[in-house]
Amino acid sequence: MSDSPEETRPETVSSAGTVSEAKLIEAVQNGDKNAFGGLVRMHQKRLFRFIYGLTGSFDLTEDIVQEAFIKAFNAMARFQPGRAFYPWLSTIARNLAYTKVAREEKKESLDSKQEVGFDPETEELGPLDKLLDEESQKRFYEALQEMPGKYRRVFVLRHLEDMDYAAIGSYLKLPPGTVNSRLYRARQFLMDKLKDLL
């Protein structure tokens, strides 16, 4: 009886079926780099949505998400097991978002163009459209994109990242009252834009 290489090869997390985040992290840290792909698949959609909510730019979001994963990958050896991966990842991505937006704004400013980034001038969904299956989804994201950035950021953190007011305030450095008022205005904005769907 002969064992094929396939049969004798030890199973890795990468080759396993559905696995937990903790297992993936452990595997990556133990040298199974391919397991990082599982973390990418696990978190990329949420991360994308979050960053898109902050930036309002599809292309920028794509770049940031990719870069955030790369940075996280490079730092995985020192990621403490037992920690939640997404908060760490999203903070890296969020910092990248601010960095890139600041850079873009500076560049645009030098070119005497309008600012881009957090408040894109376009109201079209662009490439995001391909990720939205339903008309109501498109309406929602269109409205979100049209929303002023200062409201959108609060809204995204509340509704898409599920933060409470205190967390939002801490994250954006806003007083609680401001979080409340901006969230209220964000909702008013959406209720107005989407009133036919409510």
Partner: protein
Amino acid sequence: MDHEYYRDRVSAYHDRDLTPEEYQMMHDHLADCEECRELLARLEKLDALVDANADLGGDDYWEQSARKIEAKLGIGEEVPEAKTTDIRPKNRGLIWKFAAVAASIAALTFIAVHESDISEKAESPRLEDEKIAEEPQALVMDLEESDDYLAASPERVEETPVEPELEDAVEEAVETLTLSKVEESSDEMALADDKDDRIVGDIAEAEEATPEPPQTAAPAPQMAVNETEAVESSKAVKKMRGKSTSMSQPVESKPVTTVDELLKQVPGVVASDDSGAIFIRGGRAGEVEYVVDGVDLDDSIGWTAKESDSSDLSDTAILFGDVIPEMTSADSLAYLVKARAVRDSLIGGLSYYFKDLLAVQSSESKEFRLKSEAEVSIATDSLRGSGQLRRCLGALAGIAELTDDTEERQQCILLISRVATNETSPLQDHAKQLLTRLKK
């Protein structure tokens, strides 16, 4: 209370983000107010609409995206079927704010603004102050935890020292604040602030701003130790510009008798070892906003630098190191930072703005009166165990010397005086010496 008061709180009521008293008041009001009830009903419908539509489709796109990332990482021959996280909100609306302690995500924020912004912000109300007042114990505990970690992890301290080969590569640059541990994988810290809903940071690419480390170093002050590695390996250089800042409230408002006590009131910043490295962390409400170039005084710390003949520090750089996963909680990131100054024509420092107080580590050019970073290194080498306090004293003295702000100077002197009059402080004599020098 008028109707408008309640209407403005319907949204928070919907989120259960009111105090119990407010919630009950709102509850009672809703029983009598149809308009507010309608608004609440619409908010609930909006919630449902968002939940139903916020998810993103496009499975093909996500698989392609994952493969792109894998390709960039050189991985991905075998792909585990990791569960996609459900990104729909969960349990929203059940979060109460009964506790004063607000645990949350701390923004590790670097801000660079122009000098003109500083005075405005210095006079503005301090959210951070309120937080500190609310949660002093939590902050103290947090710092203690950091110290414990550092004490238990000598390897982190060992990472900094390197050959003091530092040259004056510094012609083009300026003051550079570097991290003791920086790798290519280092995370770029963002410069941002949402206070005015605009990005106020001025960031530059690391590669652009990093002065090449010299191959042959000119004699450098001791502060140069630890720097070469960071400069060589770092790709996370940030530029900053602007000028430093001031403290706006009297020291008396935060009574302390030693700078150590002061440190314990400071969110997120811990002088980590005796080599001049500084450990910075964040993670809780009220913790840490990182201020590059000392701008937003809402915050705890800032790096300050100013050129002797100009406030334009457009080429001033700051290096930040990698995220420290071991100290990174679920809600925060932590960075290890090291400061240095590299250009003679500059003065400046790495300063922690502890709200309106400051206790600090400073670095500045060797030409200037207080070579704080170098001095600090020397001092801490000879006085292990008190390095943190000593650094702070040195920095306070440096700021007292350099500042043009009379109030700021007085506050620094007052802090030093408290150590100088503390019979139990091991640094009493040192503080006295600093005071003597300042009087001169």
